[in-house]
Symmetry: C3
Subunit: 265 residues, 3 copies
């Protein structure tokens, strides 16, 4: 039971409940210990849909700690996946089948298929998604390059998104890295380039199939104001999950303001 | 007993002890779990006067976790309050009495009365302070708007501060948000606008009645150099409490330097 | 046993193992509680060589907590030292012998000898190193001033490094503070000034004797690309230790990219 239940109503209404098909929150985890993981889940499991053990960080865990951490996450009703970069290494090294088997043994429930760093043709990408699905994983794919010098043309981005969804990815992440600056839809200062957002959205059948990496508060705020409280957001730092929820539901100045002024008109 | 007692003296002297009337440190908490809360209190309860469960984050706790967390904080001799934004929602929605009753039941000891986002006339503000005092809370108020476009004129700021104190607020917070950039006394880069600080101070009877939100180290440093080790500071990230204490008492380069060079003259 | 063992090979090879003579990772600790310390060590002790209780933060611990924390760190096979600023206060106040005795009693294993804030002549510096060695500590020294206005001339820097090593320091830290901006080899934005790095390196017999404070990811990345996976790095935030390891071993985009493209040529 929520602590303040019955004393007020959320200024922004319609927030989705678990299991969510929209309003997904994906947390970026750079190596939380077991106690911090318990803390996070106790406080906020209801508001977290997926935890990504980002980059190749999970390669540096002991087997025991990794299994215990994944168990904690699953038992709290949250999905868990290794970082896309790790998968890219596995594909590049030709050990993808072993990677999937090991991920399954360890308890991961979801796989991110990306090509943020390596080159991957459409066939390899489709096969990577298919194999992960066959192995019993939920699959999320990612479009966009980590290096701004390698920008993907818009038409190709739209093709990739459509193909990934057709191949069985349940959502497609729009890349923004851990920092959210100078990459994808963000400029060097982390400000959203609105025209880039609109260009991406213009070519997809349903914006709910997109999950925006948005590590910074200003980014989360703008995307919520644009797409509503149930926009899919990723790369949320663990310590910001409740702050994001306050943004989504209008209990933080930046989004409360809009709801408030609309009520005053 | 302090671990290093007797081996050296603090370069900046006169730091106040608990219960403090000046030199107040208010921590901003975006959702620390119970283990992290225990860690924070074990390490630093002596140096923390108040923990703010910021924005409306406490609306997303389960009742059990929230009560246990508040108990931990109170048992360590630290005050605890919900964020001002949450109170603004309650006042806007006309459920302030229920909000205060519920805050009391949950164990909160302090209430922040602000109008950072909503509009509030002087009478409503006075009544909000009065009701919280009547309900047995310590009250801290806040001046300043979250949106820089809505800047409060200086004369009005001075009036508000005087009225709040006359109405029973024990201190008045100067707004700077979580980020401390482009708001109130800080420019877009988070640098202090000294003339703004002096303008605010010029109109108050006692600068000790002000508590400056100062999330960034450079801000804390400048305010300590201006007002001394016992300046009241708020929105201190939990992980920075001991670093702030080192600044206050001259065990960090930025404030040690001044004490050192004065001794060399 | 590593969780993913046998399923892939690290893109950047040759990472050193403990006890390291190169590839040292020094963590900056601003006051982690006991639970967070356990978390950090469980997750990453293999990748941490030294934890610095930075500035004078250890002056604010209770004796019991400080001893328990130091025990945890030592039992995990990690060195632990107080911050250099604290030593500078002790030397300035003429209580260095007592400081060393107390540090020994508390369980510290390493001492950082710096003059980032106070003035110290070469003889005092040599004696400070010698006394710490005599007391049974491993000694690391630091060159560079915290205040950019006091920049040390290059020739003097080279002399200091050579003298410290001759006097028994096992490595010499290049100062960059907690923030890594506008100090030493970093510009106001935290970007590496390559010519400064090369100038420093040009005057030392072995670059492995240097440990670069590099709190930001972009700095770690550039230093790894310049000096390889076993460059000595310091002031690593606790939450970034596994992310740094991913950088060192090529499991993060920024360094994976180089290994990948070299393989494609």
């Amino acid at each position: 039971m929520k602590a303040w239940e019955g004393t007020f109503t959320m200024p922004l209404k319609g927030r989705s409940q678990k299991p969510r098909v929209e309003g997904f929150t994906m947390v970026i985890d750079k190596g939380l210990g077991l106690r911090a993981t318990k803390d996070l889940l106790e406080m906020a499991a209801e508001w977290i849909d997926d935890i990504k053990l980002t980059f190749g960080t999970s390669a540096f865990y002991s087997e025991e700690i990794l299994k215990r951490k994944i168990d904690l996450i699953r038992n709290a009703g949250v999905e868990v996946m290794p970082g896309g970069t790790f998968l890219e290494v596995a594909i590049w090294q030709g050990v993808y089948d072993g990677f999937l088997r090991r991920a399954k043994d360890l308890g991961f429930t979801m796989i991110e298929v990306s090509d943020g760093t390596i080159q991957m043709d459409a066939q390899t990408r489709a096969r990577a998604i298919g194999k992960a699905l066959d192995a019993g994983f939920r699959v999320i794919s990612e479009v966009g390059k980590k290096d701004p010098a390698e920008k993907v043309p818009l038409a190709q981005l739209h093709e990739q998104i459509a193909a990934d969804l057709a191949n069985g990815a349940f959502k497609v992440i729009v890349e923004a890295r851990e920092a959210g600056k100078g990459v994808g839809i963000y400029d060097e200062e982390g400000r959203i380039k609105e025209e880039e957002v609109e260009a991406i959205v213009s070519g997809v059948a349903d914006p709910n199939c997109l999950l925006w990496e948005a590590p910074l508060k200003s980014q989360q705020q703008q995307l919520i104001l644009r797409f509503g409280p149930n926009v899919n957001l990723g790369n949320i730092p663990p310590e910001d999950v409740l702050a994001l929820e306050a943004l989504r539901q209008g209990l933080r100045g930046d989004t409360l303001k809009q709801a408030y002024w609309e009520s005053q008109r």
